[in-house]
């Protein structure tokens, strides 16, 4: 039994190795952030011709911009996220895991201003770690990633249970581990209760 659980523990670990590393990096990236708000400095700006229909609503213009630009891995801007700039131009943020395409509809100039705001690698990994299959409309590569992410998530819970079993079965007299386990659990419970 112990041998079988050990083997499953190892195999599941190898099958979810990169995900576990990404979870760790995502946690450190979140720790290193100096504020909740992410930097939104564009790395490039380009323009594209665009003339909105004269009788279109903002929602219809946003949909047309989405169809015209066909930005990779981006999805339509939700209605509640339609905003305007200080100059009263329609502002559309198309998000994906790499950052934001910030599109301003410059109606008077009949063109779009497209800013590319790219997430750092650390922020990218932070977003990647959060992908779940609950997002059923995600583009194919993101959905594929999310499915494996879900597998890794089950593995993470399984590691805690199987790890506990392996510890007690193989090294029950390793008293240092009891102390460390108690310290970790106590830290969690104390912080939980204090913050609640």
């Amino acid at each position: 039994m112990t041998s079988l659980i050990r083997r499953l523990h190892i195999y599941a670990g190898l099958l979810s190795f990169s995900h576990l590393i990404i979870y760790g990096v995502a946690g450190l990236a979140a720790t290193a952030q100096s504020q909740l708000e992410r930097p939104k400095v564009p790395r490039s700006v380009r323009y594209a011709p665009f003339t909105p229909p004269p009788s279109a609503t903002d929602k219809q213009v946003a949909a047309q911009v989405y169809r015209t630009l066909r930005l990779p891995l981006a999805r339509p801007v939700p209605d509640w996220f339609l905003r305007r700039t200080a100059d009263n131009d329609l502002l559309l943020d198309f998000y994906n895991m790499n950052g934001i395409w910030r599109v301003v509809v410059l109606e008077k100039e009949n063109r779009l201003r497209i800013e590319e705001i790219r997430n750092s690698l650390a922020l990218f990994l932070e977003d990647v770690h959060a992908a779940t299959p609950a997002d059923k409309e995600a583009p194919a590569p993101v959905r594929a990633w999310a499915l494996w992410n879900e597998f890794a998530l089950w593995c993470l819970i399984g590691f805690c249970v199987s790890g506990l079993y392996l510890w007690l079965a193989a090294r029950p007299r390793f008293y240092g581990a009891y102390a460390v386990c108690a310290a970790g659990a106590a830290a969690f419970i104390l912080l939980y209760e204090a913050i609640r």
Partner: protein, 194 residues
Amino acid sequence: MLDYRFLRSIHLLAGAGSAAFLLMYGFSAMQMAHSSWFPTSATVRERQIQLKPRLADARQIARELMQRGVVRGEIQQAATAPARLAVRVARPGTIHDIRYDAASGIVTVRTSATGFMGMLNRLHHTAGLYHGYALLNAWGWAVAMVSVALLVLGVSGVWMWWLRRQERAIGLVLLGANLGFSITVLALIRSAGP
């Protein structure tokens, strides 16, 4: 070269120390992926407190309420209008929306608190050392340590597998599948821009 027994101790200590946090992350992530499995609800209560009238600083009102023990947490939003001030004080799982009527000095505090799974969900999203509330920074340190533990678990686990010669062949297939999939899919996503 680190021997197998030493690596096993490191692996066990990292796992034992971070298990409570890792279980929290696992279950809260499960709740986010399958919200229908874990219905969450919030309890809301409202109360009124009398402060001095004609105060003009939303943060000062929040601090006053903190000193009286009415609210706890981090000031997240503060809006100042001539007659009415509004401020939000929040910590994971609990949000206090505070409204102050300058003429009467009456403060209305609307507190919304989530249950256990809601609390785990908010803790999952809490990290960083920049908070104005010391307990959140303490949690941020814990997150950093658990993140390091997770990296140690991953690296020491793979290292131990490599030292166990009898598992190498199948292990190489499994690890290769995971790395091949991850590198390919992440490269596809990352190269899509912006």
